[in-house]
Symmetry: C2
Subunit: 318 residues, 2 copies
């Protein structure tokens, strides 16, 4: 038997699935595999797809998979699922629909639970995407329900971030949209066959040309994302969307813009550091000190910063 | 002029507002203030209110504020806003409605942006709640749009976690619900005057009595949260909801159950540790090494774990 990383790279899908579970749980086996796989990553086009519930993101991702396959490239999906590890997202209709591609060896779909990730969801998803990249998938979609901080971070960590809207969303959704738009490279109004789709697209274009966010000194100029209309259920506009993601990627490579890659690297590094710190806190030699610190914070006799400074003094490298 | 912590404790609301901004940004001034304030925290009842967009959470929080005030207690709200720091949540109608209490000195409302928190949103919100607790507010509501990982963590960090539902939500919302219900101490079907409210409550009760999650060895028994119906716009059921949160708190204190307090302490400690690590990485003496590590990870010549181990070796206490 070869090691999991080599097996996954050789096309063993069960080995890949087990490896991704190990990555989610940050096991020592996952670390060893990552050391092997990391040099092979960096080739895939990582596309984040995010939007509020009800915009039809999963159906759109399913349509994008078909489109990528029509072009002959292999494709993987990391779907960050808002449901719990237990109650699972596999029951969702959209997820089932995607399984239509279950027998295609050049399609791989992975759902990740959105809670319980040591070191954070964003880092775990990004690492999972790096694994799929390293084993040879040419396009990797990172699909999230973009209403939470972590989920927006996941989408923003992609090379190209697509924010999905739908016509006729409520007020609270509008507000969420404003936050999302700041991370968008492309904006899609899905459910394009519904009344109001053209109007929603026009409003978004006006909003975006006025500037989602004012330019700030020392910061890169705000994005001016293109607005497209799709109807994922019929496939209308999906080829154009995929082409737009490719244009974005080509521009990014031509500009030598590696901010997203550095941001991804920082998220992964911080997650690894935090993982190491947590492990050190749980080391039997330090467990009593760590527990005493937690108890003291909980009892409000010690503030977290003083506790952190004291613990760091005992966390010297071994 | 007294220091900000003392001024905030003496009732200076502008000093309090500035202090909370410092807490959001984790400035050195905030650390100093926290050292002063921390011993005074631990008295308030921290109530998390979470739910999907469109369930009427903010209106419910506004109604709860009125109810708490009717009982004579002081109340603060930390509203974790899904919108960006720039486009802001202050334009939302519900937030404006809450401002009706703006002239009441025993009510304080604070919106927090959901992105850009060094050390994470959950920790920043929990620390803000600790400050409000320390300056004397008797009830602190932590309101989040509960569809993301961080937002669920915020709500779950409260003493009492209330999950808000509404009748007639779509499929994707149903799935989100399953994840949320695991952290619920109380479940509320809001918009109780809509058709289907009673049926939704009955379904939730059936779902909850069947067990949201199976019991696992070594884990506490799954919660069996009470299900209530409210109509926040008319105030119907709001007094009962507040009473239920108080019963939950009383049971928790009687049982000596301090798991939520220890979990909060751990979140705050990890955030403080991460903050210290980030600061050390940005220390001029180490900046070059940190940037080289990021570049190497981004270029896939170094995996994050190896980079973390190397950096930790240079992060020895000073």
């Amino acid at each position: 038997m070869s090691d999991p990383a080599t097996a996954a790279r050789a096309g063993d899908r069960r080995a890949l699935a087990r490896l991704l579970t190990a990555v989610e749980n940050r096991t020592p086996a996952a670390e060893a595999a990552l050391r092997v796989l990391y040099p092979y990553a960096g080739r895939a086009h990582l596309v984040g797809i995010t939007g509020a519930p009800g915009t039809g993101k999963s159906t759109l991702v399913a349509a994008l998979i078909e489109e990528v396959r029509r072009g002959g490239r292999s494709v993987a999906v990391v779907a960050v699922d808002p449901t719990s590890p237990i109650t699972g997202g596999a029951i969702l209709g959209d997820r089932v629909r995607m399984q239509a591609r279950a027998t295609d060896p050049d399609v791989f779909i992975r759902s990740m639970a959105s809670r319980g990730h040591a070191g954070g969801l964003a880092a775990a998803s990004v690492t999972a995407a790096a694994v799929l990249d390293a084993v040879g998938f040419e396009v990797v979609f990172l699909e999230t329900v973009g209403t939470g901080q972590s989920e927006v971070e996941v989408a923003a960590a992609a090379d190209t971030t697509v924010v999905v809207e739908a016509p006729e969303m409520g007020d609270e959704i509008q507000a969420i949209k404003a936050g999302l738009l700041e991370v968008a490279d492309l904006v899609v109004v899905n459910k394009g066959d519904r009344p109001g789709a053209q109007r929603a697209a026009a409003q978004l274009r006006a909003m975006l040309s006025a500037g989602v966010a004012p330019a700030r000194p020392g910061r890169p100029a705000p994005k001016r994302p293109e607005v497209l209309i799709t109807t994922a259920t019929t496939g209308e506009g999906v080829a154009e969307l995929l082409a737009a993601t490719e244009r974005h990627r080509a521009r990014q490579l031509a500009d030598g813009d590696d901010r997203t890659r550095l941001a991804r690297a920082e998220a992964e590094l911080m997650a690894a550091l935090e993982h190491r710190l947590r492990a050190r806190l749980r080391d039997p030699r330090r467990l009593a000190a760590g527990e005493a610190a937690l108890r003291a914070i909980a009892d409000h006799v010690l503030d977290p910063y003083t506790a952190a400074d004291r613990l760091l003094a005992t966390l010297a490298p071994e």
